[in-house]
Structures are given as structure tokens and as C-alpha cells.
Amino acid sequence: MDNQKLVYTPAPHLKSDLTVSQAMRDVIIALIPACLVAIYFFKFYAVFMIAVCMVTAAVTELIFRMAMGKKPSLGDYSALLTGLLVALCLSATTAWWMGAIATFIAVGIAKELMGGLGWNRFNPALFGRVALIILAPWIVALGADFLPWSINFGPIDVVTRATPLAMLQQGMEMPGLANLFFAFPGGAMSEVSPFALLIGAAYLFYRGHINWRIPVSILATVFVLALIAGKNPFYHLFTGGLFLGAFFMATDWVTSPITNKGKWIFGIAIGVLIIIFRVGLAPTEGVAFSILIMNAFVPMIDRATKRPSFSEPKPKRAVAVPGQEQATAKG
């Protein structure tokens, strides 16, 4: 038994199975129901948009990391996930190059230029989506240049419908609630079926990847404030990107607060902002803007909710006699 090569590494010598790539893969898996619903309604438009965004994401990450002299990290699935999320934030008939630009901004600028996964302050997918809105004038100008490359898979009857949220804002007659909850094509691909997203979210809870406090506080806040504002709260829950935002975007590890108390504050503040946006400002994209705004406050929330160490001496209690202290502890 002499001179055998032993592995000599520091403690601990056991490791849980959880890895970043596994978690990211699980989120992609959790989005499959929503993707299937989108593909069912939007056919090739959905498939194509998802493919464009995911490929752009992978290529962008590769290029940026090579340019910065870092090792490629496609294996952690984070770029692919960002690409998928960007695609789901767009409507299926959005021009493909707009999806590509949004993804490029999401992965290249919002993530890699910020220092890579872990250092980005804003949710990359939402950053990419919102960049499209902010860059709208430029994009309109680009539209003419890209016209020859536009791709058409033929007409599908659902694509001309308005976003339910916009319908709500304009006081149009609304589809039934059950309809909205299970499947109502209109708007972004992820808006079609809150139900499909909920299935995915259940899987993420089961796998322990997301903390329930953030989605619950967002949904509850939106519900209550909508009620107070005299709106039908269910319409506000089931329309717009609320489910995607609450379960998949706001729960992003990197861009949400660390402590449970911080998560409550974060979620409630997002809920309040969403209602302000929806009731008082623009009809759409309230969820995206609300989450991005709160992303910026995460360091501040973390500082404000810093917990004391287990060893931090507590202020002396009035009764310090060991025997009595014990009685209260047990009582």
C-alpha cells in the first residue's frame, strides 16, 4: 500500500450534487411548457424566434469571452437560458433581427461586459427586452435596411390580436378569466399561458431553485393594490408578463436580494411599481421596468437587511440568572 497516489484536498470532503449548470438547465426545462404553448399557437414563428435568440446568445457569449480572454462558459447554460427568456419576452412575429439585437445586448452588454455571470446587476433578458423599447427610434430606422431579410412563414390567424393588457387599458371587452389563465394568444409568447408558466414554476420549487417569497410577494401586492385601485385583480394577475416576471425573472439568483427579509421587500416593491406603471403610466412593459428598477436597489436592500452574526453579543436581558433563563427558554 506504499506510494499510492492519494487525493489530498482540503475539507469538506463531501459535496452536494447542485451545480450552476444543473440549475440553469432546470430553469430551461421549466420553460418547456410555455414554449410548447407558444409553438402550438404561433407555429414556426415561435420555433424560429426561440432558435434565433438562443443561437445569438451562444455566439455572443463566445465572442465576448474570447475577446476578454476568458474561458468559454457555454457549459453553464446561462447564455442559452438568457436567449430563451429574451425570445419569450417578445411576440412571435417580431422581426427576427430585433430578437437578435435584444439577445446581443442581453448577453454581451448586460452580462459579459458587467463581469460575467454573477456580477451583472440587472436581469440580462429584461435588460435586452427593454433596450429594444429605448432604442425604438433607431430600430425603426434599421427596419428598412433589414426589410429584404425579413422572413415570413405565412399567415396565422392569432397574431393580429392585441395584448390582453392593452385591451384592458383601452377598456375593450375582455376574454374570460379561465381563457386568460390557460391560454390566450396575444402579446409576447410568455403571456399566452400563465398556467404553463405555473407548471414550470412548480418544478423549480420542487427542485429548490427559487424562493417562494419573491413571487408570492409580487403577486399578492399586485392583487391587493389592483383591488384597492378598483380594478379586477385577476385580470392584472393573468395578463402581461407578470407570471414570467414573478417566477422566472425576479427570482434570478444574481439580481435578487440574499436574505428572506430582503426578498420580501424586493417583491413588494416590484408589485407596487407594477401597479404604478399599469395604472398610471404606459400600458405595457411595466413588469420589465419594475424588476429592472428594483434590481438596481438590491445592494441597498442587502445592506439594510444584513443579519447579525450568531456570535454577536445581544443586549443583556433583564433576567440573567441561568436557572430562570432556562425556564423561559423551555416554556
Binding site: M1, L6, T9, P12, S309
Partner: protein, 439 residues
């Protein structure tokens, strides 16, 4: 059943089934033992023998005048062949006494049997000191120093949590030596003046809970406390918090809190030291691992090499394996098999290549918060690991890096494979030095 515990911590697969049903047996003494002169926390010992001397089992071979220290004794009888630096299980080298066996029976034979009731507290403390008893759960603090307290101590807490995976030596001792354990507890209670004795045991050892509940029935002041199965339940501060509800502020010693924690194995050794005058020359060690042919709980002489132990247990091929002294969360991996067990070694574990944590390159923190959720010290291991990498000592101090008990949960849960506790371990000495110089 009311189960007590603390905040934070994690459930880690406990792999105890390999040895939890194996009764304690005695392992044959080796031809040669290498006994480190100092095995405790505190002042170093000086040798009392020289090369060529004949020694008997239990003969004192190293001691010092200092108070916080514990003498060491010959674990076998034979001839001292050398006193020289030898590899220590913690890495580096340590002055050790090497004894070659004379081939005779290596049992310790008590000269007398004393009645602890007839002994004064001072005599009890002296007997424990002379026997070189130290914390055998891994703490290695001299027990006589721990129980020589002037402050009133109301409770003795026996630590039978054994929260580290694989280890079952305390479990078996609670089952097989319950009587000695209870007698040892009575001796310790007398020497510290405690009126209460709690025995904390994780509920994954129901037979031990039952056995000790039975043994302590009708004994005044004894209480068996079932504890949740959660790592690191057996760390002193968390055991105190779980059992008594008392806070354990930094710098406070157990005696300041009115309670003293003793490992169950240590307590049994105290009993043997006081009643039979038996020094700490052997201990129960769990030898375990999925590929070890003869796993078990063995009484092994202090100074027995890992190589000898594994050979006795039928281990042959060790290529790509990891050999650990202690538990898998806090124990030390061994670079070779010449190091020996000491008084505080709880286990000899062999992890096969399939269980060995790969040396993968780790990635940046993704702020998942798992380490924060599970940190039993309520620290922010995520931040600490980043500050440690950047050597930001000011920030490390501000985020209480020195409170870390190095339980290893953060590294265990980290999805980015960051060696968090290792990074913390590397910067702690510097931070402590800076804190001392500031005072």
C-alpha cells in the same frame, strides 16, 4: 418527541449505515507507534524519556508545567527507538516519540479501583489531568482545564450529537458503555458543581436515546435531549443554543454561559481515568468507507499508523482514493499513510474515487444564497469568499470572518464549486493577527 435544534445548518447524507450496527472491537496493537508529544490545544509538552528507554503501557512520556496542557503516555510497552519530528496528521511535522513493541500483551492493567465518591474535587481534577484527557470529539482542549472553573456552572451537556457523516464511534459508545457514561457524567458534574446533566443525541440514533433514557431513569438532574438531525448540531455553540436556548456570544467560554460541553467519549475516558487511573492511550475510532471490507468501530492505540489500520481492515487498493482522519466535513485528508491517530481522532475514512470531490475549477459566485441560508453562524460566506480572494482584510473584519467555525457547509452547498471555507481558513490567521495588533 420534542426535538430541539438551531437555525441554519443543512441535511447532509449521513452514510452511517456502514458501521452503526458494528459493535466496538479491539484492533491488534501495531509493531510500532508514533506518538506526537503534544496532542492538545495549549502549551507543548517536553519528553520524559529518551531513545533506548524501556516503557510500559500507560507510562507518562511527555508533560509540561503549564496549566493548559495534557500529558501523553506510552500506548504500548516496548523500547523508545527515537524522539524526532514526524509527519503530523494536520500537515507539517511534530516532535514524536517512537516506541517499538516488545511483543507482549498490550492491555492496560489497572493497579487499583477508586471510588469517586471518596475523592475530593481536587483529586478528581488531578486524576483527569494526569491521564491526559482532552476533548475527544475533535476539540482537543485539555479537559482538566475546562472543568477547573471558579465560576458557577449549572449544567453539564454531554455531546452525543455526532453530526458528522460516517462517524459512529460516539453512537456505539453510548449504546455499549451507557453505564460508564452516566458514571463519568456524575464525576464531571461533581467536579464543576453542576446540578443538571443534558445528554444531546440526534434522533437518527433512537437506540442510543432509548438506552440512555433507560439508564438515567430515576437519576436526579439527568435529561436526554433528542436533537434534530442536522449538521453541525454537534458543534459546541449550536449544541448549547439548541439544548439550553442560551446565546453564545463571541469570546464567551462555556463556563461564562453556565454550562460545559463534553463529548460522550471524553466523559467515558474521564470515568476510566478517575476510577482506574487509566490514561488516554487508546480510543474508539470509526473506520469506514463504501469500499472498506472490514468497516467498524475499533479501539485503537494512540500512535497507530493509518497504514496499519487500513491493512487490518482489509483495504488494499487506494489509487485515486481519499483517506481522511476525522469526519468528512472537517477532517484532514492525508497525503500518505504514515501518520497516526491521536487522542482526538474520531474516524479513519476512505472515500473511493466516485465520492472524491473533483478538483474542478470553480466559477464566480452567482448569489444563489444557499450558503447564507445554511450558514449556522449567520454569516455571509458568499461575501467572505469574494473578500478573501481579493484579500480585502477590512471588509473581512467588518463581515465577522473570525466568527466562522469552519463547519464546511458553505463549500458543500455551493453550486459554483467555490472552496468557500478553504478561502476563509486561509485568511483567518492574518485577520486575527490584525485584530490583535489593533487592540
Amino acid at each position: 418527541m420534542e426535538v430541539k435544534t438551531f437555525q441554519g445548518g443543512a441535511h447532509i447524507p449521513h452514510y452511517k449505515s456502514y458501521t452503526e450496527d458494528k459493535a466496538i472491537t479491539r484492533m491488534a496493537a501495531p509493531e510500532e507507534v508514533v506518538i506526537p508529544l503534544s496532542q492538545h490545544l495549549g502549551a507543548p509538552n517536553q519528553p520524559l524519556v529518551k531513545a533506548g528507554d524501556k516503557v510500559e503501557v500507560g507510562q507518562k512520556i511527555g508533560d509540561t508545567e503549564e496549566f493548559i496542557a495534557a500529558p501523553v503516555h506510552a500506548s504500548i510497552s516496548g523500547t523508545v527507538t527515537a524522539i524526532e519530528p514526524r509527519p503530523a496528521y494536520t500537515g507539517g511535522e511534530i516532535m514524536s516519540v517512537i516506541i517499538k513493541s516488545d511483543g507482549g500483551p498490550q492491555e492496560f492493567v489497572p493497579k487499583e479501583k477508586r471510588d469517586p465518591e471518596q475523592m475530593t474535587v481536587e483529586e478528581i481534577r488531578q486524576a483527569i489531568r494526569e491521564a491526559g484527557i482532552i476533548g475527544m470529539g475533535g476539540a482537543a482542549f485539555p479537559t482538566h482545564a475546562n472543568i477547573s472553573t471558579r465560576k458557577p456552572v449549572d449544567s453539564l451537556i454531554l455531546n452525543g450529537a455526532e453530526c458528522e457523516p460516517f462517524l459512529t464511534c460516539d453512537h456505539r459508545q453510548m449504546l455499549e458503555r451507557a453505564q460508564e457514561l452516566v458514571e463519568g457524567a456524575k464525576i464531571l458534574m461533581r467536579s464543576i458543581g453542576a446540578k443538571k446533566c443534558y445528554i444531546g443525541i440526534e434522533v437518527n440514533k433512537p437506540d442510543a436515546i432509548e438506552a440512555l433514557t433507560e439508564k438515567t431513569k430515576g437519576l436526579e438532574g439527568f435529561e436526554v435531549v433528542p436533537l434534530a438531525v442536522k449538521y453541525p448540531q454537534g458543534f459546541k455553540s449550536h449544541l448549547i443554543k439548541a439544548v439550553t436556548g442560551r446565546d453564545v456570544p463571541r469570546g464567551a467560554r462555556s463556563a461564562d454561559l453556565g454550562c460545559i460541553v463534553r463529548n460522550v467519549g471524553t466523559t467515558i475516558s474521564c470515568y476510566e481515568a478517575v476510577v482506574y487511573g487509566k490514561p488516554s492511550i487508546e480510543r474508539v475510532v470509526t473506520v469506514s468507507g463504501p469500499t472498506v471490507p472490514k468497516c467498524g468501530n475499533y479501539v485503537i492505540k494512540v500512535g497507530t499508523s493509518v497504514g496499519h489500520i487500513l491493512k487490518e481492515c482489509g483495504v488494499e487498493d487506494l489509487k485515486g482514493h481519499k483517506v481522511i482522519l476525522g469526519g468528512p466535513m472537517t477532517g484532514m485528508a492525508q497525503a500518505n499513510l504514515v501518520t497516526g491517530i491521536v487522542k482526538s481522532t474520531t474516524g479513519v475514512l476512505v472515500l473511493p474515487p466516485s465520492m472524491v470531490r473533483e478538483e474542478v475549477s470553480y466559477s464566480d459566485c452567482v448569489r444563489c444564497g444557499k450558503c447564507v441560508d445554511h450558514c449556522p453562524m449567520m454569516l455571509y460566506p458568499n461575501q467572505l469568499s469574494i473578500y478573501a480572494e481579493a484579500e480585502m482584510y477590512g471588509a473581512l473584519m467588518e463581515w465577522n470572518v473570525t466568527d466562522c467555525i469552519e463547519c464546511g457547509i458553505c463549500s458543500y452547498v455551493c453550486p459554483s464549486q467555490r472552496p468557500i471555507v478553504h478561502l476563509i481558513r486561509m485568511v483567518k490567521p492574518t485577520v486575527k493577527k490584525m485584530q490583535r495588533s489593533r487592540k
